[in-house]
Amino acid sequence: MDEAVNPPPRVGLFVTCLVDLMRPSVGFAAVKLLEEAGCKVIVPSQTCCGQPAFNSGDRATARAIARQTIEAFATCDYVVAPSGSCAGMLARHYPGLFIDEPEMAVKADAFAAKCCELASFLVDRLGVTKVSARYEGVVVYHDSCSNLREMGVAGQPRKLLASVEGLRLVELNEPDACCGFGGTFAVKYGELSDAIVAKKSAAVAASGADTLLAGELGCLMNIAGKMQREGRAVKVRHVAEVLAGLTDDPPIGESAAGAKP
């Protein structure tokens, strides 16, 4: 990127509440990938995209959070999230929240236009074709529903994974099947969610992979939690960690002490 003519894009990292709270290493992996691709990364003060409220029917809270988020990222050229569901909330649902407020709707539209999911931002917007990471393992990649259906993310992470040295990518049977997380659904309808994730866990086992990746921490925690309860030894990480070559931290649900099932 020619910095003299084109200043580096100012990318606001929307880290997502799950990454922020549960697994900061994913956020740092995202920063590394963005900076290596020539971006200036900033992290405005943020909380949540508002999905939990939105999907529970609380539009007022969702609107309040949206207003706050739009304001916080006002000076960014792009807003990038390592999550299809959060990027989807920002890019696809924020404008609709302000259907009765024309002024805010315009702002929300402009904001939505600059929101992207991480892998698609790297590949589609910045033209990144490969990464310099290495990872020894047989990897299966789960397409989260929001990534697939709201954000059109499927080929991009796979393209980048193909460039990771030592990594062999295999596919799941029915890769587009939901894992049963669905946010609050997993807790409200635990037994039903469990029945669905059990199928996904079996599919991961059938794929022969030793590593599960996805661009969605909620799905990953859900599938990891089930596999670990079942005693399956599959390492689970966010795809950004592998792409950035930052795999020193223990995989999801494991500890540094290496407590294995």
């Binding site: 997993a186 039903l192 089930k226």
Partner: protein
């Protein structure tokens, strides 16, 4: 109307998950998924046809009053009669009246979800009239006293053994030593028994996939031909259909027909697509003497102009439930009423109220597969969300959930407080989960930890680490 067990949805779910026979049977519906994909692949115009179909329905709904009037004029012109019913009670009364006027003792029925909705069979039986389902799947579940578990494949939850057991129990006049181990034998037996019923019926009742205003025609699609024998053999043919089945012209119906079977079973066309217009004409050697159409409202007019209007585009193909992870896990009966799967989740609260039917739109991950395959491009997840909004406004959601979300919202609207509070909590949880890196149990997280381990956080939050690194906010 038939009684809903939807309020006890979670119990229904539990029973369905424990039912091994049901779980085995549910694995069969994968055929519909591959079938639809193959059919769509084989027709280059498929996506454009979905758009065309959607536009036709939207146009029709926007002019529904006028098309209804045009339709009834044409039915009358061809010698038929249109009867309007505001609700289930009125619809049943009309059909009963048509039957008793003819002294009818037996009624054959083609598959009709509307007749399930209004509880027609029960109303007929109460009046001493035998109602016989003729669609093979419907016939089998009628013998078992069950309701359909899928709108296209009503007996999909049953095994061959279940069906054999039922036939032996119900067809007592046949020799007990007969071999019913093969599906062909079961079919042959049903065919023979139902053939008699087709001939002895006084009235035949069918549903309608479409009602065509141009010619006053009703259209049904079947693979068996039972809907045809139901309507051409008895003296009276009664069609029960809801208002939104109207389409303007035969050419419009052709657009919809091209996406219907493909979305449902993966066939390009069902074996029989039958257009019925009025009673038999002078010179016709077969056909009914009388043709009646019962047009049912039962909540449709109220859906027009509402947030749920798009649901009126539904052509009852079943693609949504065939692709739904929730339906695949529990089958149709667990939904508790007539319509299962995503379309049932959106339609049921409209018809029986959100207080009774509200569980259904909540029991979804909003994965979006339904909308992806819906031939009419109905935004099903969006409408499920609308129902959740209605429930939230009416404070119908469970108290604990409201409290937890309210608490989350409180902090999420206050970034500085949020950062401090979450950092503290995550550090504490990290220590608590330390050695294993995950929890087998956590207070307030029972819905999760009963079935899965819960990852422990890494400790300090991203935002607190970022600030520590860069020493400033931005």
């Amino acid at each position: 109307m038939s009684v809903a067990t939807t309020p006890r949805f979670k119990d229904n779910v539990h029973e369905a998950l424990q039912d091994e026979r049901l779980q085995r049977a549910l694995r069969h519906s994968d055929n519909f998924v591959s079938g639809r994909a193959a059919a769509a692949e084989r027709l280059p115009e498929f996506e454009a046809l979905r758009d065309s179909a959607r536009a036709i329905k939207d146009h029709t709904l926007a002019h529904l009053d006028l098309y209804l009037q045009a339709y009834e004029r044409k039915v009358a012109e061809s010698g038929g009669h249109v009867h309007y019913a505001r609700n289930a009670v009125e619809a049943n009364a009309i059909v009963l009246d048509l039957c008793t006027r003819r002294g009818a003792r037996a009624v054959t029925k083609g598959k009709s979800m509307i007749s399930e909705e209004i509880g027609l069979n029960a109303a007929l039986e109460a009046a001493g009239i035998e109602a016989i389902e003729t669609d093979l799947g419907e016939y089998i579940i009628q013998l078992r006293g069950e309701t359909p578990s899928h709108i296209i494949a009503p007996a999909i939850h049953l095994s061959k053994a279940d069906i054999e057991a039922e036939f032996r129990r119900a067809h007592r006049d046949l020799p007990a030593v007969r071999d019913l181990s093969q599906p062909e034998q079961l079919l042959a037996e049903a065919r023979a028994i139902l053939r008699d019923k087709f001939f002895s019926a006084d009235v035949g009742v069918t549903g309608a996939n479409f009602l065509v205003a141009e010619t006053g025609t009703s259209i049904i699609v079947t693979n068996e031909g039972n809907g045809d024998l139901t309507q051409i053999l008895p003296k009276v043919h009664v069609v029960v259909a809801s208002l939104e089945k109207i389409v303007p012209t035969l050419a419009d119906a052709a657009q919809l027909l091209r996406v219907l079977a493909r979305s449902a079973t993966g066939q390009d066309m069902t074996v029989y697509t039958t257009l019925s217009t009025g009673p038999r004409r002078p010179g016709d050697p077969d056909g009914p003497d009388e043709y009646h159409v019962v047009l049912l409202d039962n909540g449709r007019s109220a859906m027009l102009g509402s947030q749920f209007e798009d649901m009126l585009r539904c052509i009852r193909c079943g693609a949504c439930m065939n692709h739904c992870p929730v339906y695949h896990a529990i089958g149709g009966h667990a939904y508790g009423w007539v319509y299962p799967g995503p379309m049932g989740a959106v339609l049921t609260p409209s018809l029986i109220g959100v207080a009774k039917g509200g569980q259904l739109p909540n029991a979804s991950t909003l994965c979006g597969r339904c909308e992806e395959v819906c031939p009419m491009r109905i935004p099903l997840p969006e409408m499920m969300r609308h129902w959740r909004e209605r429930e939230f406004e009416r404070r119908l959601s469970p108290v604990v959930a409201r409290f937890a979300l309210g608490l989350w919202g409180f902090f999420a609207k206050r970034p500085a407080l949020y950062r401090v509070a979450t950092d503290l909590m995550m550090r504490a949880l990290h220590l608590a989960g330390g050695a294993r890196g995950r929890f087998s149990w956590l207070p307030f997280a029972g819905g999760w930890t009963r079935y899965r381990d819960l990852t422990a956080p890494q400790g300090a939050t991203f935002q607190s680490r970022w600030r520590a690194k860069s020493g400033s906010v931005r």
